[in-house]
Symmetry: D2
Subunit: 443 residues, 4 copies
């Protein structure tokens, strides 16, 4: 298990595996072996060399601890890794050792291997996204007609449906994922350029090596090496960051609905260590924590973009921990929210009760808009303002206060008033918008 | 002039204007007037009301200072602005005052007006990008065959062409701008949802009002109001942030090439206040400053994404200064680099001299790759290592050291060696890559 | 008025003035004139030169717009400013023009002038802090015995006093301000080193000039010029950032207490543009917005710390907008919270009602701790767990459920139970802690 | 070994251990056992309970993987840990199991245990700082009289000594460490407040428990629990961030001095995977990478400060990975720079050669300052400007050009000129400043 206590809330098990020593070594090996095989096919490597390299590479695990230690004095893990692989090939097959890493630079291997890992991570994130998105859509459908308070600046506003609120989560999630997917396609490309990015060491075959290596590893093939141009990865990283912002928003909504005083929805949650009665929004906490951390991680990546010449001092070297943390944070938020949404206990009765508890105050706008065309908006506004004052001092529902005002009933019958000032009567385009947000009809 | 001393390096004049009080007020007015006109066309407003509102709105400037002051106690500038507009309409035309801001919520106006400003900003940024991109392309073409040192980790690496380096800048810039453009299309949409985002106050016509308002203002029309979902703006903001990262990279490259000890390229630069002989990389400083500030600004926007329910407390209120600063930083970097690139003095002789000054050390890889297939890579590596040592102690060029080694000349003639170890002979796919980066052929 | 609409929520009027063109120019002038006067006193400047420089400098305003424009091509506003000042002195007094900016480098003037502005800003922030701190202390005292729910993870927890909660705000504010004050003392020092920071141009008198200039301007005097070492400013900036984090926490607490469903406290707030009944937490929004923006601004400053050699390319040039934004954000949060706290309507009845509405669930811990020593914690935990279940299904208060359980009354009398499970009976060290937090007794 | 490949450049071995599962579990155990012991001493726990808890806790390792997994559904690792510890005590000693975690809340344990780990981390960082600081001081002393170019905006400026430059690094490092130390003292305090922070569950003894627990663990004791007030940790975290900014600055300086074209200093560095001749600034890369990542990590912590009520949803949960990453980044930078500084190869001959290669251009200021008092600054400036032009076109040293100008020699003899325009003659207060920066005399 690759998760750590210090990091337990910040990842999922699956994503911890993706960036584990085992997985990273696998990717490094796959890239070096893939390179050898491609070069063998092109006749660049002598017969047998690629097989010898593969046999050595896969023979037994490398010593990740030793490589990590050596990485710091080399500035990259690739240099000691290539050394270890070469030593092993040499031991097993002599001369083939000389063809390990042929024509490559260490950043070629590091970037390509990391992108192989990111591809695995993306596959897992995609599954998480799909599951969450489906759960959210089901939740929205289940509550298409469940009325609740709209809340702006944490104050009561005219009613919405819970289905509409949830559809808003859905649409943002879909937009975010479309951006991540597009950024992934662009970013997860092979890196292969040799020492200065010109492929000079391989002569005319260099471009072919890169193209075939990309195919071998299931990565895209870019217009040129991108050792010091990290905008594609940056676009991927920022797309994840934006996505996690939305996940944090959903989690915050849930945590607010779950307050004892609101009580409209509750995630399954976690238990307290001391308070037997308590159910904590643990999933929301995990997702909000992810959205708390990601902006800074995005900033860290962008800061590193200012890279020197053909390969950077430091900017590049800062990327791995940042990207791995960001991917895992996104995954942790997905996983937590999936549990929260799937197990969400929704209380429509409480939703209605909280709405009613405003005494109809949220229909003040509605009444004003209805009266304005006939009596003028200013008069209507003043009238409703007065009714709101009466409501607050008397505790009577606004609709009753209004129905008792002759200036009002001169224009609107008490029945129409009652109809108007009901949640169902004041939902506007809520259902159309919900369907549009779910992509079922076009705006 | 809207630029400030404290902000002088952080904007352009044009972009300072875009976010000036005058321009912001214009946008706010245009949105409220546009709303009234659209509602008049739909028969929602009584005849004459829209004209009265327009007449009042455009009659004389609003007091930006008073509005700014009042904005803080309201949490938004829109509330005092609507109050001021309403008062004015009421004074001029009586009842029409009641129809100002009909069915809208303040965030509808704030978001839409800000997007109108952003559209103007984008037009200016687009022009800046285009100009810079063209200048960079010209520079690359002019130096397609200018050889220079590749530099990795700020150390000499095999040669590249200056044209290739510059083409890398170009391709990153084009990718960035494509992302900004795509994000702009998605983000610069109208906001119109009324108090809770359901358009309830306007009844069935609400959706039409939004659609027509978008058309009136030249903005896109989204699937639903997005008061608390800021992912589209976030994607726009991050695309700018990524773009500025690349601009910082270009500027850093220039500042490094301009070092006295390197002397390969120089921007026109600025004068020192005390040192008569000095030319400072002022444009690079401005662009690097922009790329220093943008990651934090991006983080600030992403932090604000975790917004409560149907409208946030604070997250939304944090956006304007952040986005305006980011847009202006991007523009400042574009403008500065345009001056730097257009006026860049390139010194191909110095480039060659710096290459030669490595004594051919950068061809060590080349020699090793040439010798390896015949003598084995290990032997080749050891041999070349020894030659490099001799070169360093003797000061003789590597090619001469190699040409004097019988183990070498047994495999490669001195002539071939000299050919191999020349910059022109070791450029690999540089020109193909350059053309690919400029989009003139496909990878 | 120097505030802008785009920035209206992000500053106070007073702090907008501090960084206005007028104030910045005043500071630049004061530094150059101060330098001349000090040098005159030391006999470095010929008689009359300092007076001539002062007379010219103060004769009429400089053209801030032109200076801002020129700043970008110079990389600093100081170069065109010195040019303009020199031209003016020359026009008025001929040869004295040659002694403007004598022995200084532009960064000497820029840093020193900015620190002069920051000193003014700090004075204003200090007054804001003091006022807020006093208001918070009064609020805590007024509610020393007002019981309310503790809330952890937004769920009910055992009771606290409102006075304790508010005292927590107070202590954090005081700690923060102590850090800001200490950082200010360290950071607001003169910068004077000349071209390379050795004061070579002034010969042996250089150190005296700097020391006297510091005294002249009321700034501290550091061990050496700090052109490329920005840690002191960074410490000041981060202290402000930490401070604003606490202000955001206070504002979030207020916004949560002000929810309609909670209703325990309300800031005076702002009106809605459409909903007559609504009172918005406008002050909380402004303060939370500040705390949303500051982490990124802090990051931007820290990013710029990696400065090259004796003066940076870009890192330094990024500072002014960042620091000015951060200082103003802090001030905006102070001002907003001062209004919120001073005008806070606290509802102790509602606090008690919300506590009671938990049905005593928050005393489950209390009951368990009381029973455990006699019956064993496990048995006690199981028993209380069962009572909590009964309470939830029956709706009866926990204390009644417990009082009806013979296993409980075997150990604790119903009277003791009732005493135990009252808020006043379960406040623990709340008042001691409150007094410690207010600094009135030591822990 | 607890380091990971993905994180290899981002930590040291020692600091990876500090945050390892083993160390974190040890801290959690120490806190729970310490709590039991303290409560036993106070008579709160029955005789034998504390020994039973200790015996069980230390009997065999806990299953970190299982705890990590369970942490996510609980929102904290403490809940499953307490459960596991309780189960074990119960199995071994029956009733004593009921006294595990007595009166504590999970955040009490989490915060206190993490602070125990941070105390260990600080001890290691302090040793690293001390070693680095001593190495830097030695380096400064060794080069007190080694002249080199000052460089501003990466352009030549008047000479400095290498000892002065290095003393600047030293002083910044000392200031930073003083801030970290002060912040550590404030931040590394015990957390002990129980469910709502009032210590209600423990009655009057609560305060004593906290005080004695602090002593038991070697932590400080604060005025009150600080569950939702994170400013002390924030101040610690930002102090580390500022410190790492300076380390990045030092590393950047080294990487720039190590450029082939500059060649003034070189760290031992790492080998390239393909280029036999190459020595990479691997240590600088590691340190710059750290300073690239820390601003975003600081921002992430500050973002999390806006915590709700008595315990946050998410803000708190975001802290561990951020703080651990930041501490390790700081340590990685210290370790890397210690290697770089200790093994730094300095080339005073090259320093002088680079200075000479400016042709005396950097003395232009000097000449101008010398001539100005007699001929007027304007005339002097114009004259020197002309000489600089001549120098650039002719290639002759500036001093020769000046010595050939009668307007110059009318005022200054060629001998004095030669003296003036020598590096040693134009170092100003360099040595005084160096001693001040090293704290050997006061400014």
């Amino acid at each position: 298990m690759e998760m750590r206590l210090v990091n337990a809330l910040a990842t999922t098990e699956a994503l911890a595996e993706v960036f584990s020593d085992t997985a990273m070594l696998q990717a490094l090996i796959d890239v070096e072996v893939g390179l050898a095989r491609v070069q063998a096919r092109l006749g660049i490597l002598p017969p047998g060399a690629a097989e010898a390299i593969a046999a050595a590479a896969y023979s037994e695990p490398f010593d990740a601890a030793a490589l990590s230690r050596a990485a710091r004095s080399s500035g990259t893990v690739v240099i000691p890794f290539v050394q270890a692989l070469t030593d092993r090939v040499r031991t097993l097959s002599g001369a083939a050792g000389g063809f390990v890493h042929w024509g490559a630079t260490s950043q070629d291997i590091a970037d390509t291997a990391f992108n192989v890992c990111l591809a695995h991570a993306c596959d897992r994130l995609a599954a998480d996204h799909d599951a969450l998105s489906a759960a959210i859509e089901r939740l929205s459908d289940a509550h298409a007609t469940t009325v609740m308070l709209g809340r702006t600046l944490l104050q009561p506003a005219p009613p919405i449906t819970f289905g509409l609120k949830v559809a808003g989560w859905h649409a943002a999630g879909e937009r975010n994922w479309a951006r991540v997917t597009s950024a992934r396609r662009e970013a997860l490309v092979v890196q292969f350029g040799g020492a200065s990015g010109t492929l000079a060491a391989l002569g005319p075959a260099g471009l072919d090596v890169g193209r075939m290596l990309a195919a071998e590893l299931g990565l895209g093939y870019p217009d040129a090496p991108w050792h010091a141009h990290r905008d594609r990865l940056a676009a991927f990283v920022t797309a994840l960051g934006v996505s996690t912002g939305t996940l944090g928003k959903i989690a915050r909504d849930i945590s607010l609905l779950m307050q004892h005083e609101v009580g409209e929805a509750a995630e399954p949650g976690g238990r307290s260590s001391t308070m037997p009665q308590k159910r904590n929004p643990a999933a929301a906490a995990v997702a909000i924590a992810a959205s708390t951390r990601t902006p800074g991680l995005v900033a860290a990546f962008l800061t590193g973009m200012v890279q020197e010449h053909e390969r950077a001092v430091g900017g590049w070297h800062a990327e791995w921990p940042t990207v791995a943390a960001l991917v895992q944070a996104t995954g942790a938020a997905f996983e937590a929210l999936l549990g929260a949404i799937d197990g969400l206990a929704v209380d429509p009765v409480r939703m209605r009760a909280n709405l009613d508890a405003t005494g109809g105050g949220v229909f003040a706008e509605c009444a004003m808009m209805r009266l304005a065309p006939t009596m003028g908006r200013d008069a209507a506004h003043a009238l409703v303002q007065r009714a709101v004052g009466d409501r607050q001092s008397s505790g009577r529902p606004l609709v009753d206060v209004l129905a008792a005002m002759p200036e009002v009933t001169a224009h609107v019958s008490p029945d129409e008033l009652r109809q108007l000032c009901s949640p169902e009567g004041y939902l506007g385009a809520a259902e159309s918008l919900r369907l549009q947000l779910l992509g079922r009809c076009t705006p």
